[in-house]
Symmetry: C2
Subunit: 76 residues, 2 copies
C-alpha cells in the first residue's frame, strides 16, 4: 500500500476503526470474524489497523459475517 495518497490512507484507517468498532459491538473476536467471513485472521487484523488496502470482495464477506449491510461499514 505504498502509492495511496494521504487522504486515501486516512480513509482506510477510519474504515478499519469503524470495522473494529462494529465487530466489538457484535461481541466477535477477530478469530470468529475470520472464520465466519473466510478472510484470514491476519488480514482482519491488518484491515482493522488500516495497514492494508483490502478488496471489495473481502469487505463484502466481512459485512456478511457481521450481519450488517455493507454500507454500514462506511458510516463514519
Amino acid at each position: 500500500m505504498y502509492k495511496v495518497d494521504i487522504e486515501k490512507k486516512n480513509f482506510i484507517i477510519k474504515f478499519g476503526k469503524n470495522l473494529q468498532r462494529i465487530r466489538v459491538q457484535k461481541k466477535l473476536t477477530q478469530a470468529q470474524l475470520a472464520a465466519d467471513s473466510n478472510v484470514e485472521i491476519s488480514q482482519i487484523s491488518r484491515v482493522e489497523r488500516g495497514v492494508l488496502n483490502t478488496s471489495l470482495g473481502n469487505i463484502y464477506a466481512i459485512s456478511q459475517a457481521l450481519g450488517v449491510p455493507i454500507d454500514e461499514l462506511f458510516k463514519f
Copy 2:
C-alpha cells in the same frame, strides 16, 4: 480473482454495473473518471465489468471523483 466464491463474484459484478450507471448518469467518460480519480482507465473498465476485485482505496477515490458519498456505490 480466482478464489472469490460465487456470491462474492455476483456482488462484484453488481457493484460494477451500479458504478457504471452512476458514471453515465453523471455524464462522465471512463477517461474522465480515470483522470479525476487517478485510477488507471483500464482498471475503471475492468471494475465496471466486474472482472476485477478492486481495492477500498480505489473505490473511495472513484466515489470522490464522482462526487457521491461512497455508500452510494453500494445502493443496489
